[in-house]
């Protein structure tokens, strides 16, 4: 242990999560706000260096690496911990708060981890706590989506761990989490990359996200939208900056997310696809690898946490007030929820990179870096996708919920109203931060870890953005009838495991259970067939030996000469015990031969 007193911000969240059930009433609300606030204060007072090193078995683990890169990510994560809790303040279910805090603790733990062991520990903590934010919705659909989420993240965890072990072997027993040699990754490096990309929701490893975020609780999805993917972006920046594969992958993510979002009927699934799209910009920036591009990726992750959670708060407010999140069941709500409209619109303009809003000062860093490095094709594709972002998150989302024809039932209309004070306060705070960062961008630029020079408010950039956005608006209104919502769902990669699992189950049923069909003899299952074959194995064995000896010698002994009936061996358990002993000795012999070879 180090000598200085160093408090890990995750420790505050974890202790808070343990103590929360002890509080009631107003004290509980105060405690709910106090813990994230304290953690935020701890994070902004972090000193650069390596803290919290402990020895575990023969390895040193470090829980607190603080430098410019981890500081900016820890800053926004801790801030989001506070905003998320404020938004969820009226939630009575403690499970949701505890799960959210453990999840935030996991995310901060990953960001401050100095080695792969600590990273993996917190990485899994995130997966296993966030699933409760899906389950807390308590619907059959959320239960199923939660299990799928857990299975996929379990798989990702195993891939990551395998990669870590292989990488440690290749790196001479070194677990430290430092930039990889991206020209020679090795099997361990590639597996770690796959583990990270699964959490970054890179296709085809992305289907867990719209699935789970669409089914989470209103406040649970707000928290989830901020942490898992952005933690993965941090891990990618730390480990894989400059890996050429990430640029085309990022551009593909950007376009994939935008196009799939167009097909969505559920507002929160639409936003989940836009997370894929926005994370795509960051992944592309990491792939470009220049100072401007990687700083752009950090900055974009920073503002993405803000505006994406703001959008999820807006749609979460609709869901928690009306119980609806599908466009085909909403519409014309501007009289009922006008302030929610304003906050959501601010989130939408921020994600669309409208001047004076947060995304404007960050997205252009990555696109400009792509132009500067002469990736012209990719740079134009990144620009093209901006149009889709503006179309769905700002124009389509606000139009189909607040304007146009009302598709609400009477009950929905009756329940619709601006949400309670704490939810509105969380939205107002986030909306303020979106505009603050967009207007006073040196606040963000000064925190960025790599050197660059860039001025987002040049006349050229302003003119480009205004023209681009205005003609997207023109296109939207010209094609308005094509945006009419329909109650459909879109197939995605989860089709393979949702339908695949069904056929797997059928296959297993076919093999291992008896099918009773009326009027027919029951078909013996595979299990029964194998059973019959292995029944009295001694009998088969004896017959085989007799046949062998007959073939070898031409002499057929009478069965009566064999004194003992093998069935009695079986009854006395002599046969299975003998077989087990034989197998144990056999494998030990093989092992020892292999060992001495």
């Amino acid at each position: 242990m180090t000598n200085d007193l160093w408090i890990h911000p995750s420790a505050l969240f974890l202790t808070g999560a343990l103590l929360l059930p002890l509080f009631r009433g107003k004290a509980r609300k105060a405690f709910l706000l106090l813990v994230p606030l304290a953690a935020f204060v701890v994070v902004i007072t972090l000193q650069d260096g390596i803290h919290g090193s402990v020895n575990f078995l023969e390895w040193g683990m470090s829980f607190g690496r603080v430098d410019a890169l981890s500081r900016i990510f820890a800053f926004i994560m801790a801030l989001m911990g506070f905003i998320g809790t404020l938004f969820a303040l009226q939630v009575r279910n403690n499970v949701e708060h505890v799960a959210a805090w453990v999840y935030v603790a996991g995310s901060l733990g990953v960001i401050l981890a100095g080695d792969y062991l600590a990273l993996f520990l917190f990485w899994e903590l995130m997966a296993f706590s966030s699933v409760f934010l899906v389950w807390a919705r308590k619907t059959p659909a959320s239960l199923a989506a939660g299990f799928r989420y857990l299975l996929i993240h379990g798989l990702g965890g195993i891939i990551l761990l395998t990669g870590i072990v292989l990488h440690q072997q290749a790196a001479g027993g070194n677990f430290s989490f430092v930039p990889m040699d991206v020209t020679r990754l090795g099997a361990g490096g590639w597996l770690i990359l796959i583990g990270f990309l699964l959490n970054a929701a890179a296709p085809p490893l992305h289907a867990w996200m719209p699935d789970a975020y669409g089914e989470g609780t209103p406040s649970g999805s707000v928290v989830m939208s901020a942490f898992t993917t952005k933690t993965a972006v941090y891990a990618l920046i730390r480990g894989f900056t400059g890996l050429p594969l990430l640029l085309p992958l990022g551009v593909f993510m950007v376009l994939f997310g935008v196009i799939y979002a167009m097909l969505q009927n559920d507002a929160r699934r639409l936003l989940a696809y836009h997370i894929i799209s926005q994370v795509g910009y960051m992944v592309a920036g990491i792939g470009i690898g220049s100072g401007l591009a990687v700083s752009g990726a950090c900055a974009h992750a920073f503002v993405n946490v803000l505006y994406k959670s703001l959008l999820f708060m807006g749609t979460g407010s609709i869901l928690s007030m009306t119980g609806k999140s599908k466009f085909s069941e909403l519409g014309g709500l501007y009289r009922k929820m006008p302030r929610t409209l304003v906050y959501t619109l601010i989130g939408g303009l921020s994600i669309s990179a409208f001047p004076l809003f947060a995304g404007f000062v960050t997205k252009a860093m990555i696109v400009t870096a792509a132009f500067d490095k002469h990736f012209l094709f990719y740079a134009f594709l990144l620009s093209l996708a901006s149009s889709g972002t503006f179309l769905s998150t700002t124009l389509k989302l606000t139009y189909l919920i607040w304007f146009g024809d009302s598709r609400c039932s009477e009950k929905t209309l009756e329940k619709a109203a601006d949400p309670p004070g704490n939810m509105e306060a969380a939205m107002a705070l986030t909306a303020f931060l979106c505009i603050f960062v967009g207007c006073y961008y040196p606040f963000l630029y000064n925190m960025l870890p790599y050197p660059f020079t860039y001025n987002p408010y040049s006349a050229y950039h302003l003119s480009e953005t205004f023209q681009f956005m205005f003609f997207t608006v023109v296109g939207f209104f010209l094609m308005l009838p094509m945006f009419a919502p329909k109650p459909y769902l879109s197939l995605d990669w989860d089709w393979f495991y949702r339908i695949g699992a069904r056929y797997f189950l059928r296959f297993m049923n076919f093999c291992f259970s008896r099918k009773e069909t009326a009027g027919q003899a029951p078909r013996p299952s595979l299990e029964e067939t194998i059973d019959r074959l292995l029944d009295y194995p001694g009998d088969f064995f004896r017959k085989a030996m007799l046949m062998a000896s007959f073939l070898a010698t031409g002499f057929m002994p009478s069965l009566a000469n064999v004194r003992e009936d093998p069935r009695s061996w079986l009854r006395n358990a002599a046969f299975p015990v003998g077989l087990s002993v034989f197998m144990a000795v056999f494998f030990l012999a093989v092992m020892s031969i292999l060992f001495f070879l």
Partner: protein, 84 residues
């Protein structure tokens, strides 16, 4: 509710979409012609006046039609598709 009244007042402008759109487009082009220094452009085609207007409009059309095409080839399914 002043906010609602403001929104309703804005709604009345909807009928004048065409003239308002033309005026805004004109202002954008004038702004580009007078104030924008094209040194920051990375390719020659960006120097065409109104390039980003055309690019924005085409992007929007491409994205909408591509997603419609995906829906057409069978990516969209009824909501009970996964129910057994």
């Amino acid at each position: 509710m002043t906010l609602v009244r403001l929104l309703e007042a804005m709604g009345k402008w909807r009928g004048n979409g065409l003239p308002v759109g033309l005026i805004v487009a004109g202002l954008l082009l004038i702004f580009e012609a007078l104030f924008v220094n094209h040194d920051q452009a990375h390719t020659a085609m960006e120097k065409i006046p109104g390039f980003w207007s055309i690019f924005g409009f085409l992007s929007c059309v491409v994205i909408v039609f591509f997603s419609k095409w995906l829906a057409h080839v069978g990516i969209l399914k009824p909501e009970d598709y996964y129910d057994e």
